[in-house]
Amino acid sequence: MAEIKNIPQEKFKFVGDKNLSHDVKLETKPRSYLHDAFSRFCKNKGSVVAACVIVVLVLFAIITPWCTPYQVSYNDPNFAFALPKSHLFENTNFWDGCAVKRVGFHDFIINYAISTELNDAKEGNGGHNVIKNEEYEVVTDDASGSTLYVYREDSYHKLGTIYKQVNVEEYEMIQKYQDETGNQVIYPTVRPSDRPKASQDNNNANYYFKTQMVNNKTEIVLDDNGNVIPVYWQQPAADINDGYHSLRIEGQQGIQRDGTTYYNVYARNVAGGDVELRINYYEYYIFRHAYVLKDGITEPYFVFGATDSGRDILTCLASGARFSFIFAIAIAVVNMFIGAIWGAIAGYYGGAIDLTMERITDVLSAIPMMIVITLLKYHMEETSQILILFLAFIATGWIGMASTVRMQFYRFKNQEYVLAARTLGATDWRVMWKHIFPNSLGTLVTSCALVIPSMIFSETSLTYLGIISLTSGNITSVGTLIAAGQPFLTSFPHIVAFPSVFLALLMLSFNLFGNGLRDAFNPTLRGSEG
C-alpha cells in the first residue's frame, strides 16, 4: 500500500492524445428483425426441409394441371382402375401399369388370345401384350391343386377389343386413319350367333374364338394343338357389304377356300344406320384423341393411375391440391382481416365493449363446425358448395386471429410511445393501425401459416365425409378422391395411395414449417440453441 502513496507525479501519463472516450459506433452490421428471424429459421433443419417440401408440393399443384393433357372432368370408364404407369419404369416390374395375376386357365387364355390377335395384326407391332413380355409361369396351387398361371397383367391392354357402335362418318374416318398410319383399329367382327351364349359374356368382344356354354358359364373350345379357334364372320367376296376398304388382318387377298375368296366381315349394320365395330380400344383411344379431338392426349397414360370412373389421378390430385391451397390462403387472408379489426377494437377500447365482444366470440367458438356447415348447406342449397365451405370456414375461423390481435393490443396500448402519440394528437384510428397493429403482425402471420394445414385438413375431412361435394366441372378435392377410392382399397390401393401420401406429406411439412416459423419469430429464443 505504501508504494501507492509514493508514485511520482511524472509517472502519470495520458493514455492517448485525446483523453476523452466517446461511444464507439458498432462495427457489426445491425440485424433487422426479419433477418434475425430468417437466420433462426435456417438453423432448424427440419423446418427448412419442410419448407422445401412445401415449395415442391405447391409447384406440383401449380404446374401439373398445365402439363397433363387430361382435365379433371375427363373420364373414360374403359380405363377405370388403370394402374400407375411411367415410361421411365416401363421395363422394370415397378410402376409399369401392370399387376401380378394368379388366374386359372380360362382367364389366362382370354388374355393370351387378346395378345395373339392384336399383336399378329401387324408385323413388329407389339405393345398390345396383356401379358407383360409374354412371360408367364405355370404353378400348382398348394391349396386346391389346380393349375394357376402367374403373370403381370397390363391394365392398359387388358380391355382388348370392345364392340362399339359408331356412325358411318366415324367409320370412314377410322378407315382413313388406318390407311394413313397403318395402325389396325378395327378387327374382324363375330357373327352374333357365334358370340358366347352366356348373357354375362355375350357382349364381350374378346371372345373372338369358339366357345360353348356349360352351366351358364362360357367355356373355351380349343383345337388339338391347344390353340383357340377363331370364329370370325367370313363371307365370300361377292356378298360382302360392310363398306370396309382398309387394312385387313387376313391380308388384302382374302382367304381362299373351296375356290372362293372369303373376306372377314369388319362391320355389322345395326338399327339407326350405325355400324357396330369390333375395335381395339387402345388404338381407338389414340385415334379418337390424337386424330379427331386433337386434345394433346397421345395415348392412354396415367402416371398415377386412374380412378374408379377412369379419371386421371395425377390431374385430379394436382387440381385438388391447387384448390386447397388457394382456398386455404384466401380464407386465411379474410380471417386475418376480420380478426384484425375485431381484435383491434376489442383490445383497444376494452371495458364493456371488450366484454360484450368476448361473450360473442365465446358463443361463436363453441359452435361445432359441423353445425355451421350443415345449417349453411340447408339454407343455401342453390348456391355453389365452394361458397358454403368458404362462409363456414370464415364464420368461426377468425376468432383465433381476433384473440391474437386483442392480446397484442392489450400489451401495447398502455406503452409510453402510444401515450406520446396520443399526446401529439393522433386519432384512435392512427394509434391503432400505425402504432399498435404492426406489433401484432408477426404473430398474426405466423398463426396464419399454422392455420393453413388445419384448414386443408378440415376441407379434406368434409369432402371425404361427403357433407360438401366439390366435384363439379373442373374442381375436385383430395378428400373426394380418397372417399371415391376407399371402397376399392383392397383391390386397387393406388387410388387412395397417392392422395393419402400427398395429404400426409403436406400436413407433416406444414406442421414442421409452422413450428419453425413460430420459433423463428419468437425473439426470446434468440441464441437459446447455442
Partner: protein
C-alpha cells in the same frame, strides 16, 4: 368456497352458451321449408298429420283425399312445444326422413347408437393413455438420446399426418394384407363379445394413435420442465436416488396439467370421430349424425347437434375446473 362458486359460475355460463347455440340452431332449422317425402308404402297424408300432431304445421288444406297446403306454426310457439315435450316427456322428436327410423323417437335411436361409439373411445383411451404417458416419460428421462429422438419423430409424424391417412393404412395393412382384423365391424348388438372387440380394434387403433402422440408430447414437455426445476436438485441433495426423486417429485408434479387433459380428451372423444366411424362403418352416433344430415332429418339434427355441442363445451370446462381441484396452488377465479 369460492371454488364451488367458481364451478357454479362456469356451469351457468356453459349452459347459457349452450342455450344460445341451440336456440340459433332451432330457429334456423325451423326457418327451412318442411319436406315431406312419400317413401314407398307410406302415405304422405299420415306424415302431414304426424307433423300437425307435433305442432309443427297447422291449418291443413284438403283437396279430396290429399293434403295440398298447410300453414307453419310460429317458431316461438314451436320452440315452446319442443321444450315442453323434452322436459315433460323426454321426447326429442321423431324421425321423419330416414327409412329405418321413420316415425320412431329420435332419442331411442340415439341411445341405441351410443354403445359402439363409447366403447371404441373407452378402448382407445385404455390403450392410448398408458402408452402415450409411457412414451412421454421415457422420452423425457432419456432426453437427447436416440430413444428420445425416435419417439419425438414418431410423435411429430403421428400428430401431423391426418387420421384419414393412417386409418387407411391400418385398413390396408392390418386388416387386408395381414388379415389380423376383419375389414368391417361385426353386425349385431353383442358389444362385449370377443369377436366384436376384435372387429372394433382397427377403429380403436386409428383413434388412439393420435392421442398417444398427443399424450407423449405433452408428458415429455411437462416432465422435462419439472425435471430441470430446482426442487428436483433439492430432492437429490436430500439424498433421494434419481428414481425416487423422479417418481415422488417430478412425476406427481408433471401430472397436474396432464390429468385434466386426459379427462377432457376422454369427454371430447365421446363424440367420436366422424371420419373413423365413416371409414370403418361403425354404427355409432357419428354415422347417425351424417345420415341425418344427408337425409335432412331435422329432429335428429337438433338432438345430435345438441349432444356434440354439449360434449365440446363440457370437455372445455372440465379442464379448467379440474385444474383447481387437482392443484391447490391454482385458485380458480380468485381475485
Amino acid at each position: 368456497m369460492y371454488m364451488f362458486k367458481y364451478v357454479l359460475k362456469r356451469l351457468a355460463l356453459m349452459l347459457m352458451c349452450f342455450a344460445i347455440i341451440m336456440l340459433m340452431c332451432f330457429v334456423l332449422i325451423k326457418m327451412l321449408p318442411i319436406i315431406v317425402t312419400g317413401t314407398f308404402g307410406v302415405d304422405t297424408n299420415i306424415q302431414y298429420l304426424k307433423l300437425e300432431a307435433r305442432g309443427y304445421i297447422t291449418n291443413l288444406r284438403w283437396e279430396g283425399t290429399r293434403i295440398v297446403g298447410f300453414d307453419k306454426v310460429p317458431i316461438l310457439k314451436q320452440l315452446w312445444l319442443y321444450l315442453q315435450r323434452i322436459f315433460r316427456d323426454g321426447d326429442f322428436g321423431i324421425g321423419t326422413s330416414m327409412p329405418q327410423y321413420e316415425g320412431k323417437p329420435v332419442w331411442d335411436a340415439f341411445v341405441s347408437r351410443l354403445p359402439p361409439t363409447i366403447l371404441i373411445n373407452i378402448y382407445s383411451s385404455l390403450i392410448g393413455v398408458p402408452i402415450g404417458l409411457g412414451l412421454g416419460i421415457l422420452a423425457a428421462l432419456k432426453k437427447n438420446t436416440w430413444i428420445d429422438h425416435v419417439i419425438s419423430t414418431g410423435v411429430i409424424v403421428l400428430i401431423s399426418v391426418p387420421s384419414i391417412v393412417y386409418a387407411l393404412l391400418i385398413l390396408y395393412v392390418l386388416c387386408f394384407k395381414l388379415q389380423l382384423f376383419p375389414l368391417r365391424m361385426d353386425a349385431g348388438t353383442d358389444y362385449l363379445s370377443w369377436s366384436m372387440f376384435k372387429s372394433m380394434m382397427p377403429a380403436t387403433l386409428s383413434l388412439c394413435l393420435g392421442s398417444i402422440a398427443g399424450y407423449a408430447r405433452f408428458t415429455r414437455a411437462e416432465l422435462t420442465e419439472v425435471l430441470t426445476s430446482e426442487f428436483m436438485l433439492l430432492a437429490r441433495t436430500k439424498g433421494l436416488t434419481r428414481g425416487q426423486a423422479t417418481v415422488r417429485h417430478a412425476m406427481r408434479n408433471s401430472m397436474v396439467p396432464i390429468f385434466p387433459s386426459i379427462l377432457s380428451e376422454f369427454i371430447a372423444v365421446l363424440s367420436g370421430s366422424l371420419i373413423i366411424e365413416q371409414m370403418f362403418s361403425i354404427p355409432g352416433v357419428g354415422r347417425l349424425y351424417l345420415d341425418a344430415i344427408n337425409a335432412k332429418d331435422y329432429d335428429f339434427f337438433m338432438l345430435l347437434s345438441g349432444f356434440y355441442c354439449l360434449v365440446g363445451l363440457a370437455a372445455g370446462i372440465v379442464v379448467d375446473i379440474s385444474y383447481g381441484f387437482i392443484d391447490p396452488r391454482i385458485r380458480m377465479g380468485a381475485r
